[in-house]
C-alpha cells in the first residue's frame, strides 16, 4: 500500500516537474509592452489575415498532397514495377521512391501539427490575450517552418528521381 502511495506521489511530482519545465519554456519568450500594444492595435486585421492564410493553406495542402501522391502512385511506383517485371535493375530509383514515401509521411504529419497550431492561434482573442496570441504565433511559425522543410525535402526527391531516371535512360539507350 505504501509502495503504491509512493509510486503515485513520484508520478505526480514528475508530472508537476514536466509542467513547470513547459511553463518555463513558454515563459522564455519575452514580449515587450510595445509589441503587446502592436498586437492589440493590429488584432482585427491580423485575425483576418490569419483566417485567409488558414483557408489558402488548406487548399494548397490538398493540391500539393494530390500532386505528390500522383507522382508517387501513378509515376514512380508503376515505372519501378515495370522495370522489375522486365528484369531491369532500378535499385536507385527504388531507394528514392522509398525515401519519397517516408518524406511524404513527414509532410502529412507536419501539416496536421501546423493546422492544429493555426487553429489554436485563431481561437485566441488577440485583443484580450496578446501574450498567449504571440506565443501561439511563435508556435505556428515553428510548425510552418517544419512543414516548409518537409515540403522542400519532397521537391528535392522529385528532382533526384528525375535526374536518376535520365541517367537510367541514357544507360539503357547506350546499351541498346
Amino acid at each position: 500500500m505504501r509502495l503504491h502511495i509512493l509510486a503515485i506521489a513520484a508520478i505526480f511530482s514528475g508530472l508537476l516537474a514536466l509542467v513547470a519545465i513547459n511553463q518555463q519554456a513558454n515563459a522564455a519568450i519575452t514580449i515587450t509592452e510595445e509589441k503587446i500594444a502592436k498586437i492589440k492595435n493590429h488584432c482585427t486585421e491580423n485575425q483576418a489575415t490569419l483566417n485567409r492564410l488558414h483557408q489558402t493553406d488548406a487548399f494548397l495542402r490538398t493540391n500539393r498532397g494530390e500532386l505528390y501522391r500522383a507522382i508517387s502512385d501513378k509515376l514512380m511506383v508503376p515505372l519501378n514495377r515495370r522495370l522489375a517485371s522486365n528484369q531491369l535493375d532500378a535499385g536507385s530509383l527504388l531507394t528514392i521512391t522509398a525515401d519519397y514515401n517516408k518524406k511524404y509521411r513527414v509532410f502529412f504529419d507536419a501539416y496536421i501539427s501546423y493546422d492544429n497550431a493555426m487553429s489554436k492561434l485563431l481561437n485566441i482573442d488577440c485583443s484580450r490575450q496578446p501574450v498567449s496570441f504571440y506565443n501561439g504565433l511563435v508556435e505556428a511559425r515553428e510548425q510552418r517552418q517544419l512543414l516548409s522543410a518537409s515540403n522542400q525535402a519532397i521537391l528535392e526527391l522529385i528532382r533526384s528521381y528525375g535526374s536518376e531516371f535520365e541517367l537510367f535512360k541514357n544507360e539503357f539507350e547506350a546499351d541498346a
Binding site: N46, T62, R64, I71, L75, L79, R82, I158, G162, K169
Partner: protein, 126 residues
Amino acid sequence: MAESKHSTQHAAALRSTSVAAVQGRQFLLMIIGVIGISLFLVYVALSLYVSSGTLQLDLSRPGYDSARKEAVKGSEVFKGYSEDGPIDAQSLNEFETLYRQKAAEALIEIDAFSGDVLSDETLSLE
C-alpha cells in the same frame, strides 16, 4: 372447484401482466442499447476522423468556401504510367513526358508554406 378455477385465472392474469411489463422493459432497454451503440460508433468515427488527419484535409468544413471552389476548378483525372508493358525507347520517352509535366507542376510553387507570411514584419508586429 370454482375457487380453484378463479385462482388459476388470477395467476394467468398476473403472469400476462408481468410478461407485458418485462416486454415493455426489454423494449426500453433495446432502445437505450441502440442509442448507446450509435453514440459509441459516432464517437469511434469522429475519433478516426480527427486522428487520421482527415479533419485537416476536409475542405467541406464551414469557412472553407473559397478553398472548396478552387479545389473544384482544378479537378482532373491523371491516368499516370502503365505498370505493364515492355521497356523500350518509346515507353521511356512516354514516362519522361509525364514525369516532366508533373515535376514542373510540383516545382513551380517552390516557396509553398514559406515562413515569411507569419513573420512579425508581415503582421506589422515589428
